[in-house]
Symmetry: C3
Subunit: 136 residues, 3 copies
């Protein structure tokens, strides 16, 4: 019997519905769609890290990473990242931020696979990312 556990970093705002920020069962860890919200503050509505793609992307990475760590995983365990942007013109800048970030993280395993598509997101949000990890 493998137990399914919720991964809920202390920094995270309460999800707007009955879903978990992350779940882990056996060696599979799934991170829910994360956006660039700053760490939760009691009594305050979720607030993006800023209006720019850079601010939101870096905060989104931090939010994904917090969930991975809550489940005992690292970026090295991530198999797939889905990047949702709202504007095709953001692709090049997102890639720059992406590359710098992951160079700084010092990955030991090959980089994750990735799909990037352009969708609608709630007003003010420029990026959303989710991730599937397989633990060793």
């Amino acid at each position: 019997m493998t137990e399914k556990i919720a991964l809920t970093p202390a920094t995270h705002t309460t999800p707007p519905a009955k879903f978990s920020h992350g779940v882990k069962k056996g060696n599979i860890l799934q991170v829910a769609g994360q956006v660039g919200f700053l760490p939760a503050e009691e009594g305050k509505a979720p607030t993006p890290a800023g209006p720019t793609l850079r601010e939101q992307t870096l905060q989104t990475f931090a939010n994904v990473k917090a969930i991975l760590e809550e489940g005992g995983a690292t970026w090295d365990d991530v198999m797939m990242m889905r990047v949702y942007l709202t504007d095709v013109d953001h692709f090049a800048e997102m890639n720059e931020i992406y590359n710098s970030y992951f160079e700084e993280q010092g990955l030991k395993a090959p980089a994750s696979a990735r799909t990037t598509v352009y969708v609608g997101l709630p007003k003010g949000l420029l990026i959303e990312i989710d991730a599937l990890a397989v633990l060793s």
Copy 2:
């Protein structure tokens, strides 16, 4: 050798192409994108449960659930749900329907992770959901 099996509930319309409504291999179960089509009736084209978000969402849940059950899984085994809406303005209502539905289902395990994005769907469809489950 782990066998891959198709999950095809009797209630489901034939897929419009060579794909399966669900597949299971080992402990991994994948549900294809489901929409709010009513149970299949011979000689009748697939018909949405109704024009409203509520009707379509509840029917979509029923369609996902039928595939999970066909594979011996329950909502508790679901790790990730991807919710595709066509209109950002539907988010709050979808969450209400989502929360009520899962409260009624009496989950024993933590809720699944989830990503919601806004995309185009075929005319008349307001929601599509797919799901990844890991069986115990």
Copy 3:
């Protein structure tokens, strides 16, 4: 300890950012979003197989398949394909191409699950596909 390996077919262009075209860890294989780019030619920018949905879809299938094979998998191992189109009016034609292609491939296992949604893609690209496989 299960090792994560990158799957990089010789035919593939270098990804535009620090991600892998495919990764495999244990029995899980994830193919990154593939588009209809022709096999890489040194010193030449990535070039779509042609302007039509048919050309791009068949090339995208070839690109996904190359990654599966690089990881010792086949179409029979694929659990889920995500098809991203830019235009709802392409659905019927894509399904025809899809069906013919998979009939020719001579699948021995049930067809994969699938989700199709309509999103934005970079200019000139009409289709993107990614895939999750579970090896036997």
